[in-house]
Structures are given as C-alpha cells and as structure tokens.
C-alpha cells in the first residue's frame, strides 16, 4: 500500500494542495490580463482560475507511469485510483472552505476549480492519454479567457471565474469531477497511461 501510494504521488499531491490553498488565499484575486477574442482586446482572469492547474497536472502525472501489469491486480485498483482523485479534490475543497471561512474569499473557488480540473483532466486522459489529459484543463482556461467577454458572452465557459457563491459554477465543477471519478473507477489509472494518442512515438 505504501508503494502504491508513492506511485500515485501522494506526497507531491499533498504539497501542491497546501501550496494552492496558500497561494490562492493570499493572491487568488490577482488579475492576469489575457487576450480575449470576445472582449476585443484584453480580459482579466483571476489567479484562482490559473493556479489550480498545478493540482490537476500533478495528480495526472502519477497516472502517466502506471504499468499495464496493474490491470491484472487482485485488488480493486480502479476504485483506489478514483479514490486518489476524490481525496485530492475533497482535501483541497476542505482546506479551501476553511480558508474561505477565515475570510479568504478566493480559496474556495480555487478549490472548486481544482476539483473540476482534476475531473476534466482524468476524463481526457482516459480517452487520449495523460499528456492530453494534463493539457486539457490548461487549454480550457486559455479558451475560456479567449472566448468570453467578461460580461455575458460565452458565460457557460467562464464558470471557473465565478465567485464561491455561484451555484452554476459549483454544479459544473461537480459534474466534471463526477464524470472523471466515474471513468477512473471504471477503467483505472492503467487505462490513462495506455491511452496514448496516435503518433505519439517518434
């Protein structure tokens, strides 16, 4: 079990969760200018939208090296893999909620975004491999900034920029997380490392 936890990068995941909570509590509201097609120039994206990408990336990094031998494991490794994702998201949400209660308003939306990115990344990794999986949340963030105008256009895309009180953002994040968890519980980490895209070998 110890080796299995180590293979899933538990220490790195814990460190990134702590770092994310700290950084987003203190600096989550810092605005990063981003090119925007809809706004016709630049749009400001809060750091709490960008920083949680680190957690989804580190979480998926562990699954990039899972050996196919695990498919023959006696234990229900697929459920355990889903458990890693769930615990990472829940611990992040717990710490974010605590920081939110102590008056750090950006910590909770950052944790919500992290949970959503983990789910989104896991879903993409199951289909196209861990590299595409890790790149998908990053691509989402940049596309959301590019396509929304900061007011009404493409509002469905900018859920990650909404504050903690947004119910629609929470619903989208929960949906993405659950899809990722369900897929991982069904297929497991071995599927993610096996699902390399075509042409990935030189």
């Amino acid at each position: 079990m110890t080796w299995w936890l180590r293979s899933r990068g538990a220490t790195a995941i814990a460190a990134v969760i702590a770092l994310q909570t700290g950084v987003c509590s203190l600096l989550g509201g810092v605005l990063v200018p981003s090119p925007s097609l809809a706004a016709g120039g630049m749009l400001s994206v809060p750091l709490r939208v960008i920083a949680p990408l680190a957690l989804s990336t580190v979480t998926l990094l562990a699954f990039a090296h899972v050996m196919q031998l695990e498919r023959a494991a006696v234990r229900r490794l697929t459920l355990m893999d889903a458990g890693v994702l769930a615990v990472a998201a829940l611990v992040s949400l717990l710490l974010g909620s605590l920081a939110y209660a102590v008056d750090f308003p950006d910590a909770l939306p950052a944790a919500r975004n992290a949970a959503a990115y983990i789910g989104l990344g896991a879903s993409a990794a199951l289909v196209a491999g861990p590299t595409v999986g890790a790149a998908t949340p990053a691509a989402y963030v940049i596309l959301a900034a590019l396509l929304s105008d900061g007011r009404g256009d493409a509002a469905w895309l900018r859920w990650s920029m909404e504050p903690a009180a947004s119910k629609s953002a929470a619903a989208i994040a929960a949906t993405l997380m659950l899809i990722g968890l369900a897929g991982t519980a069904r297929f497991g980490g071995a599927r993610m490392s096996a699902a390399e895209p075509r042409g990935s070998a030189a």
């Binding site: 016709g40 990408l53 890790a134 940049i142 590019l146 070998a201």
Partner: protein, 412 residues
C-alpha cells in the same frame, strides 16, 4: 525520420491557431489603419496567442522524442538535425498563424516604409525562443508536466507583465500593445529587449540539452535565463507604458506658401486643405491681435516656433479648424504631472474664444467646452477688444505655468 508536416500534431493545430489569431486581431483596436507601422505592430501582438500554443506543441514534440528513446539509439544524424526536423512543423504552424495575422492587418493597404518591417523580427524571435525552450522542457520533464506548463508559463510571461509595475517590464516580452499613433514610432529598445530575452531562452535550452551533469545544467540554464532578463531589463528600463518614441521630424512632407504646412506622409492628401484653413484662420486671428507661428506641423519635436497640430484623414472643415485651434494652445507643462495645475480651468474657455473668432459654428463650439465655458466666453466678448486680448494672454500664461492662476470672469 523525414519531414512530414501532416504527420505532426502541429498540422492539426495550425487551422485553429490561425483562426484564433485572426479573430483576436480582428477585435483589437490600435492606431490609424493607414499607418503601416501601427498595423504591423498590431499584427505582431498575435504572439500572445501563437507563442503559448507553439510552446505547448514544441514541448509535446520534445516529449515524443524523449519517450521514443531516440537519444539512447545509435546516432545517424546530429542532434541538431533531429531537433530541427522535429520542431519544423511547429515552427511552420506558428509562422503560418503569424503570417495570416499580420496579413489580415495589411488589408487596409497602409503605407509602409522598409524600416517598419523590422517590427516583424520581434514576434518571430519571441515565438522562436518560446518554441526552443519549451522543446528543451519537453525533453527533460515528463510530458504531463511539460506540455501544460509550457502553455501556461508562455501565456503568463507574455500577458501578465502588462499588469505589473514598473511599466517597462512589459516591453521585455515582445507583446507590442500601444504601438503606435501616427506621431510615434517603435522605440528600438522595445525591439532589442525581447530579442535579448529570446537569446537567453535559446541559450538556456542549449544548456538544458547539453550532456553535462544535472546540477550544472540547471544552474547554467537559470543563469542564461537570468542573463537574458537582465539584458532585456537594462535595455528598456525607464520606458513608459507605450513602446514608442517620437517620430522623426524628417518624416514630414511640407507644402510651402504663405504658411508653411508640414504633415506626416500618410496625410499628404490633406496638405492643401489644411493650408487653406490655416491661412484663413491666421487672417481672422490677426484681426483681433492673436499672433500665430509661420509653420504648421504635425511633428512634435524640433526647434523654432511652430504651430503643432494633429489630424487624421478625411476630416471636415470644422474638424480641421478645431485641430488648428487646439494647436494654438500650449501643451500641458511638466509640473501638471506632479502637482496642481490651476491654469487647466482656462483651457476650454480659451479654445471656445478662439473658435468663436475662427468662425466655428456655435453647435460645434459646444464640443470645445461646457455651457459654463460658453458663458465665460460670452462674458469676455462683452469686453473691449484690448481687454479680451489681455484675458487671452493672461490665460495663455496660466496654461504654460502651474504657478499662475487663470483669469476667468464668471468663476471665482
């Protein structure tokens, strides 16, 4: 290992990349559409989209080579050749997107000078630097880390400095926003700084891929990046928000006559109209004792007494008159940037008073100042001509000096 663009992920990315670049530029606003340098610089802002996507693709290509174990096999080609072939599709995709982006800004057929084309070196060097460094990251880091990190770090590096102070930080990234209105050109420092930073990135990539110990590699790469940043910073430190400097006076084209009129070459077609209006205005103002300079020019620097104006193409007669009248008012003194400037209260009334004497229709005068300013001018016009001139001269001095209060009849 042959070059086959269509077998590369970059070929799939080219169309969406070009699409995003095109629509980003279509929505952005810059200087006059007929000023070539402004259009080129605006096209060059496509780096904000092209560089992050290219960096992601380059990291992907680096990771492919790493995963394939190419470097553990017996070499039949040099490493440089393998890297160039691997990165060629990414570079080609970036070049296509940049070309389409810049090309889309050229549909207005602006007037171009050969020196304007130098601005294109910036996006090419910046995207090249990002591609090479991201490739090295892809070779040295797991793809899962390298690809998203390359995209996000490249994106943050280009976009975030705009939100930071000191303002000159933004000129190190090669994201040429705020270039250029027609009276400015790109500051050479704003071209040089991103080139130096990109050179640092390429050097860092070379060190990252060198067959030396991990510690030396990391220290060497960090040193190369730091050196590039320091060089870039030294080049642009002290600059303001815009990467521009005044356009050389020698660029203007002139028309001799009773009044010597000099305009930027893009406004050559307006020379006769501006001269005609300026001559008429000067005659009307001389009747009331207001003297004007003998040279009307758009050049902002230079010696001698000059009547500096700013126009654009296709102005109406009244708009040209407005520009000429504002050209008679002194520029805000430097002290206005740091302390109180009471003379500013006289700016609009003096403009309205000059406009009245220049024959500007009353409706248009309302755009020169508020109702309060118009009331002030009505009160001034009830004075004798000599008193009106005193009012004008006193307020002109107040506009030039923060220590002199304006003289306004209807305000205390």
């Amino acid at each position: 290992m042959r070059f086959d663009f269509f077998r590369s992920p970059s070929s799939v990315a080219t169309a969406p990349l070009a699409f995003l670049t095109f629509f980003f530029l279509a929505g952005s606003a810059g200087g006059p559409a007929y000023y070539g340098l402004s259009q080129l610089a605006q096209g060059a802002t496509a780096v904000a989209i092209v560089a992050p996507f290219s960096a992601g693709l380059a990291a992907w290509e680096g990771a492919r080579l790493r995963r394939a174990g190419i470097w553990q096999l017996a070499a039949t080609r040099s490493e440089a050749r393998i890297v160039i072939r691997a990165l060629a599709p990414t570079a080609l995709a970036a070049l296509i997107a940049l070309t389409l982006g810049v090309g889309s800004m050229m549909v207005t057929l602006p007037r171009l000078q050969a020196s304007d084309l130098l601005v294109l070196v910036v996006p090419v060097a910046v995207v090249g630097g990002h591609i090479v460094l991201a490739h090295a990251a892809g070779r040295r880091l797991p793809a899962v880390i390298a690809v998203p990190s390359a995209v996000v770090i490249s994106w943050l590096w280009i976009a975030y400095p705009i939100a930071l102070e000191p303002l000159w930080l933004r000129h190190m990234t090669g994201f040429l926003t705020d270039c250029c209105d027609i009276a400015t050109v790109l500051d050479p420092a704003a071209i040089l700084a991103p080139l130096i930073v990109s050179a640092g990135a390429v050097a860092a990539a070379a060190i990252l891929l060198a067959p030396i110990s991990t510690l030396r590699r990391r220290l060497g790469a960090a040193f190369a990046v730091a050196l590039g940043l320091a060089g870039g910073a030294a080049t642009v430190s002290g600059m303001g928000a815009a990467p521009t400097t005044a356009r050389p006076d020698s660029d203007v084209v002139c028309r001799a006559g009773e009044l010597h009129v000099c305009l930027w070459p893009e406004h050559r077609g307006e020379l006769s109209r501006v001269q005609q209006e300026a001559v008429g205005l000067r005659e009307r103002l001389e009747e009331i004792g207001v003297a004007t300079a003998a040279v009307v020019t758009e050049a902002r620097s230079g010696d001698g007494e000059r009547w500096v104006i700013g126009i654009s193409r296709g102005l109406t007669r009244v708009e040209i008159l407005g520009s000429l009248i504002y050209g008679l008012l002194p520029p805000h003194p430097r002290c206005a940037e740091t302390g109180p400037y009471p003379g500013y209260a006289a700016f609009a009334p003096v403009a309205v008073w000059l406009g009245e004497h220049a024959g500007v229709p009353t409706d248009t005068l309302r755009s020169f100042g508020s109702d309060e300013d118009l009331r002030e001018v009505r009160a001034v016009q009830r004075l004798k001509r000599s008193k009106q001139l005193d009012w004008y001269q006193t307020n002109l001095r107040a506009l030039r000096n923060c220590a002199i209060p304006p003289r306004l009849l209807t305000r205390t």
